[in-house]
Every structure is written in structure tokens, then in C-alpha cells.
């Protein structure tokens, strides 16, 4: 039993990371009907920005919460800028073109970020400094949780609640919902659609950056291609929960994290990456719109 509970703790931790990344996919899709394939690489950039911020501040010499939060904030701000730039210079010019053109652009941006990362940071892995001294807490019954896992859970939960607040209780959130409903109608109501789209990209990238820093805290090995697999899996998580649906992304992320950890723990680690796609196939067969998604009729 304690083994199962420990796996659950591990799974929920990973799941909350997937959820953070999945939110970015889902928001952009909800507003633009675009799968932003470069999103996983923004997560990678977040980890690297965090690394350089931590080195620059010398945060590892005297680990404290204030510095760790500063590292997180710098990484999030940096990726917010990256998200804005990507949308403005890569996606905006092709917004009126076919969906396929936008998709290919997204793949291009993804490859650009990955190989640009290899050029800039080098292909060999870097090790994230310990900006929070690791401590373990026994939860009783042989289950332990590290303070880094707690930080991941608390920070991601806080960010998700913040996002919920923005989307449901602010003017900008209202505008986002309006744009996701219909660009034309929103524009007629005096909403600046361009600005809302930019804002959405920035928001998604900021969340991905937070995920990058949180993962790097816990698993200190970071390299330029680290975003590919989590990016893919978070995308699957978004589809699982219902693409375009914010609570769905969180649910999908958690299901994904727990499923993965249980497969490794109880079946075989070789299926670790396969389980994501098995889930994807199953959900597309059973509920193509996702767990919380609404089935929409396709205009032909």
C-alpha cells in the first residue's frame, strides 16, 4: 500500500507539471485553433533561463526562498517575451493562411528553438544548481515527499488558480473567452483580437517556463532537447482532457502523470513513453472531444 501511495505522490507531481504545459497548448488552441508545437521548447527555454538566472545571482551559494522565486520570475518573464516574439513574427503573418501553413510554421519554430538551443547552450547536459536545499518529509506509512515535490505542487496549483482567476474574473479573461468564441464578433464588440492573442501566448509561455524551472529543481539535468517528450505528452494531456478546455488540461495532465508512473512502477519502464500515445488513441476512439470537451459539429 505504501508503495502505491508513494507512486501516487510521484505521479501527481509529474502530472501537475504536464498540466502546466498542457494549459498553454489548450489556451492557444482555444483562441487560434492552432497546435503550438514549439510549446515544449518554450518549457526547455524556461529551464535554461532559470539556470542562467540562478548562476548570475549565485543562488546556489546560499539557497533561500526569495532567490528561488526570483529565478522563477526571471525565467517566466524571459519566456513571456519569447512567447510574444514567436507569435508576433512566426504565427501572425500566417494567421490568414491555411491551418496547415500555421502547423508547419509551428514545427519550424520548434526545430529552430531546439537546434538554436544546441548552438547556444551546447548539446551536452547542464546541471541545474540547487537553489532550494533538498529536504524530505515522511508522510507516514513509508511514504516520503521531498520539499521540491511540495514546491512543484504548491506553485503549479497557485499558477492554475491564478489562471482561473484571470480567465473568469478579469476583463482580459472575458475578452479571451470572447475571442475563443468568435474573432469577428469579438472585434465588433471593440476587443483588440491581436492583443488578446499576444496575451494568450505570453500567458501560456509563462506557465511553460514555470514548469521548466520546477522540473529542473527536481531533476537537475537539462539539455536543449528536453522539451520534446514532455511537450508531446502535455499535448496528449490537453487532447485527453479536451483541447481548448482549461480544467480539461489540468485533469488530462494529472491522468497522464499518474498513468505514466504506474506503468513504470508496475508494468515495465520501456512503456513509459508508449502509455501517452496509447491513452491518446483510446481517447480519440472513445471520446474524440476529450474527457471534458464538448463534441462540435464540423462544418464541411
Amino acid at each position: 500500500m505504501s508503495e502505491f501511495l508513494q507512486q501516487l505522490v510521484n505521479g501527481v507531481t509529474w502530472g501537475s507539471v504536464y498540466a502546466l504545459i498542457a494549459l498553454g497548448y489548450t489556451m492557444v488552441y482555444g483562441i487560434l485553433r492552432l497546435i503550438n508545437f514549439a510549446h515544449g521548447d518554450v518549457y526547455m527555454l524556461g529551464a535554461f533561463f532559470g539556470l542562467y538566472a540562478a548562476r548570475w545571482m549565485g543562488a546556489a551559494r546560499d539557497p533561500n526562498i526569495a532567490q528561488a522565486l526570483a529565478v522563477l520570475a526571471i525565467a517566466m518573464a524571459g519566456c513571456g517575451v519569447v512567447g510574444y516574439v514567436i507569435e508576433r513574427f512566426a504565427y501572425k503573418p500566417v494567421r490568414r493562411s491555411s491551418r496547415l501553413a500555421a502547423l508547419i510554421t509551428a514545427i519550424g519554430v520548434s526545430l529552430l528553438l531546439e537546434n538554436g538551443g544546441i548552438l547556444l547552450f551546447g548539446a551536452d547536459p547542464k546541471f541545474f544548481p540547487q537553489i532550494i536545499a533538498p529536504k524530505n518529509l515522511a508522510l507516514g506509512g513509508g511514504v516520503t515527499i521531498s520539499n521540491q515535490q511540495i514546491i512543484i505542487l504548491v506553485v503549479s496549483l497557485g499558477l492554475m488558480l491564478g489562471l482561473r482567476f484571470i480567465v473568469l474574473n478579469t476583463r482580459v479573461g472575458k475578452a479571451m473567452r470572447a475571442v475563443s468564441h468568435s474573432h469577428t464578433a469579438a472585434a465588433l464588440m471593440g476587443i483588440s483580437v491581436d492583443r488578446i492573442i499576444s496575451f494568450t501566448f505570453v500567458l501560456g509561455s509563462v506557465l511553460a517556463a514555470a514548469a521548466g524551472v520546477l522540473v529542473a529543481l527536481q531533476n537537475p539535468k537539462i539539455e536543449p532537447l528536453m522539451g520534446i517528450m514532455p511537450g508531446l505528452k502535455a499535448f496528449v494531456a490537453a487532447v485527453l482532457g479536451g483541447i481548448g478546455n482549461i480544467p480539461g488540461a489540468v485533469l488530462g495532465g494529472l491522468v497522464m502523470g499518474i498513468a505514466e508512473v504506474m506503468v513504470v512502477g508496475y508494468l515495465s519502464p520501456t512503456y513509459r513513453d508508449a502509455i501517452a500515445f496509447v491513452l491518446l488513441i483510446v481517447i480519440l476512439l472513445v471520446r474524440p472531444a476529450g474527457i471534458l470537451g464538448k463534441a462540435t459539429a464540423e462544418k464541411v
Binding site: 548539446a123 524530505n136 539535468k221 520534446i228
Partner: protein
């Protein structure tokens, strides 16, 4: 049902990119030797140490013989295989077909030596792997040599140390299923450990490049082993140690020479204290040749200490130079075939074969990693040392000699 096609096209196209290497060639008469290793990728210190070790050997040649053997200047072409087996095959093809090398030095990882070995074998170019320990590496053919012990011996060493020195009976195994070295070593350890009355109570696996080992370690922890055997590479071993300690696992982790890297402690930190791994040498061994090499290496590498991988690379290069030297003295006529302008001729083929024969005759050569005698299967038989990690330092724990054949 929105644009499923788009999703599928995207998923299919979302794969990695391919990179291509440059080209080379030469007009002057020289001896061209190839060296390949993982200068980048997840186990980059393997390639970097190999390169540094070969460079020390070359610097010595430059200091003592003006960099010449038999009147020809020695030039080493260095290639990066990015730590990928398929890339190793590509760069070795390039070394043989474009640079027209007479011999190849590398690799560290058995998976990559196994990818490049058949290419050298088919081309009739001798390849000396400094530190690939998987038995299959030299079984590729008679042109493939190695400077180190084999994993059947290394697995036995780890088992003996665990059973006799640490007096442990029940261990768990966590191996890398993407790695020939790891799979082989795990098997040899298990067989030897069973013979010594121990048992591997639980086997778990991961894939090279994984970040998170908590689920495997949680499953291992539930079975209460007295130690965890991690026959993998240093990058993962360091992370595994950290995460094991986080989950409250306090038993030692025991590994093989794949742990040997200056970065091991940097990655694993305090979590590695109380862990052991088998290795090719211990730096504090009072051997004059070794201490001289240390001086040279530190001078050329910003005072950094070499790891055993660098020492073995130095030995591989000097064994090759020695064989070339013998050939130039004993058979200058055939030796001419090794010159770069003879590339692609029948003389070159004959010369490479002669070089192969001379390397195979390496007998009681005293290298910095011990005395090297190549047996009929082109393998070296050497004692192994076990390193204990204490307070973030690697210290000598035991030397274990090969068993005399029963």
C-alpha cells in the same frame, strides 16, 4: 472532430533533425589516425576524456620524436559522434573514406563501438577501443582491439565485492535497457552473484536519457534490498542516487566503470556518499608511469585530474604508436604503405594488415592503466579496482585480480 489530419501530420513531422559532418583530406605525406567519441550528448565526458588522453600521447610524441614515426608526421583527426550509435557509424565511415585513416581510436560506450566496429573490420582498418568493456565489441572481428578488461570480469568483480567485502545477500538491479554495456554487465553480475550465494531480488529498468527514476526506485524500495546495482553511465547514476536518497533509500548503490567521470560527483553530490563502483585505476596508485602521465595531463588540461577513460585512451594511442614504431623499424618497405599518399592502394591494405598483426602482438606493455597483454581474442586482462565514494571524494577501496583459469 476538428482537423484530425492536422494533428496527425503535426505528430508525424515533429521529430528530430539530422546533422551532417564536414570533410577533409591531405596532400602531404603523413600518418593519419582517426579518433571518435562523444564530445557532446548525455555522456560527453567520455568523449572529452578520450580526446584529452590521445592528445597527451600526441604531445609526448611531438616532444620526443618531433611528432614523427618512421619519418612521417602523425596527424590525428578527431570526430564527435554526439553520443549516438548511428552517428558513430557515420563519423567512422567518414574517417575511413574521406580522411583515409590507417587506424581508429574509440569508443568508450560499447553500443557505439559495436556500431563502428563492423565498418573498421570490413575496411581492414585496425580499431582500438580504449574502454568499451562489453565482450561483443572485439568479437566483431580480428581488426578490433581493446585496452581494458571485459564485463564478464567486471560483473564478477562487482559481485565479489558486494558478496565478500560488503557481505550483502539481497540486492536490486536498475539497468539501462537502451545500452549494450548496461544489459551485459547486469547479466554478468547476476550470474556471478548467484554463484556466490546472493540473489537479485528485483530487477527494474530505465532508458538512457530518462530524468525521473522515482517510480522505479519506489518499486525497489518496497522490496527492501541491501544494495542497488546500477550498471549504467554516470549521468543517470548521479540522478538515481539523488532520487533514491530523496525517497529515503539509504542502502549503497554499486556501479561499474560507466560511473567513471569527473562529473559524477557534480551530478550526484552528497547522495553518492557510501556508494561503490568498479574502475580501471585509482589515481593515488604509486606507479611512476601513472604519476608522470598525471603531471602531463594536468598541465594540458587546466590542472584537472584525468579519469580512467582518459588514461585508457592514452594507453590506446601509445600502444598504436609503439606498433607503428616497430613496423617502421622491422619492415620499412611495408610501412611505406601507411603513408597518406598510398590511400586506397593494395600496399595500404597489406600495411594495415601488418599493423593489425603488430598490435595483436602487444605483450606486457606497461601502460598507465596497468600492464597490457592482448590475448588471442584481442582483449586485455587486467586487475580492477573498486572505488568508494566518501565525503564527495573517490577513494581506493579494493583491488581485485582476475581469477587464474580454473
Amino acid at each position: 472532430m476538428r482537423s484530425r489530419l492536422g494533428l496527425l501530420v503535426g505528430l508525424a513531422a515533429w521529430l528530430g533533425a539530422v546533422s551532417l559532418a564536414g570533410c577533409g583530406g591531405s596532400a602531404t605525406e603523413e600518418l593519419v589516425i582517426g579518433e571518435y567519441g562523444s564530445l557532446s550528448g548525455s555522456d560527453a565526458t567520455f568523449g572529452q576524456s578520450t580526446k584529452a588522453g590521445v592528445r597527451v600521447a600526441l604531445a609526448e610524441l611531438n616532444a620526443t620524436k618531433e611528432g614523427k614515426i618512421g619519418g612521417l608526421t602523425v596527424r590525428v583527426v578527431e570526430e564527435d559522434d554526439q553520443g549516438r550509435a548511428e552517428e558513430a557509424a557515420t563519423v567512422v565511415q567518414k574517417l575511413i573514406n574521406q580522411d583515409r585513416v590507417i587506424a581508429v581510436l574509440g569508443e568508450v560506450a560499447s553500443s557505439r563501438s559495436l556500431a563502428a566496429g563492423p565498418i573498421c573490420q570490413n575496411a581492414g582498418v585496425p580499431m582500438i577501443s580504449p574502454s568499451s568493456t562489453n565482450p561483443k565489441v572485439t568479437q566483431v572481428g580480428d581488426y578490433i582491439f581493446r585496452m581494458c578488461f571485459l564485463d564478464d570480469f567486471q560483473g564478477w568483480v562487482m559481485a565479489k565485492f558486494t558478496a565478500e567485502n560488503l557481505k550483502l545477500k539481497r540486492v536490486a538491479m536498475l539497468k539501462d535497457v537502451k545500452n549494450d554495456y548496461s544489459i551485459g554487465l547486469a547479466q554478468y553480475f547476476t550470474d556471478a552473484f548467484k554463484n556466490m550465494g546472493g540473489q537479485v531480488v528485483y530487477e527494474q529498468a530505465y532508458s538512457a536519457g530518462d530524468q525521473d527514476f522515482r517510480s522505479q526506485l519506489t518499486a525497489i524500495k518496497a522490496r527492501n534490498p541491501e544494495a542497488i546495482i546500477v550498471p549504467g553511465y554516470y549521468t543517470e547514476a548521479g540522478l538515481i542516487a539523488r532520487q533514491a536518497r530523496e525517497l529515503g533509500i539509504t542502502v549503497p548503490l554499486i556501479g561499474g566503470d560507466g560511473w567513471e567521470s569527473g562529473q559524477l560527483i557534480e551530478i550526484g553530490g552528497e547522495a553518492l556518499n557510501g556508494c561503490y563502483y568498479s574502475n580501471h585505476w585509482a589515481l593515488d596508485y604509486p606507479d611512476p608511469k601513472l604519476q608522470e602521465f598525471l603531471k602531463q595531463y594536468r598541465a594540458g588540461n587546466g590542472n584537472a585530474d584525468p579519469d580512467a577513460i582518459g588514461g585508457l585512451a592514452y594507453d590506446a594511442a601509445t600502444v598504436l604508436f609503439t606498433a607503428l614504431q616497430h613496423m617502421a623499424e622491422q619492415d620499412p618497405e611495408t610501412f611505406k604503405g601507411l603513408s597518406s599518399k598510398m590511400a586506397g592502394t593494395e600496399q595500404r591494405k597489406a600495411a594495415c594488415k601488418k599493423l593489425r598483426d603488430l598490435i595483436a602482438q602487444t605483450h606486457e606493455y606497461s601502460g598507465v592503466t596497468g600492464v597490457i597483454t592482448l590475448d588471442a581474442n584481442r582483449n586485455a586482462t587486467k586487475p580492477a579496482v573498486v572505488i568508494a565514494i566518501k565525503d564527495g571524494k573517490k577513494t581506493f577501496a579494493a583491488q581485485i585480480k582476475p581469477q587464474p583459469p580454473a
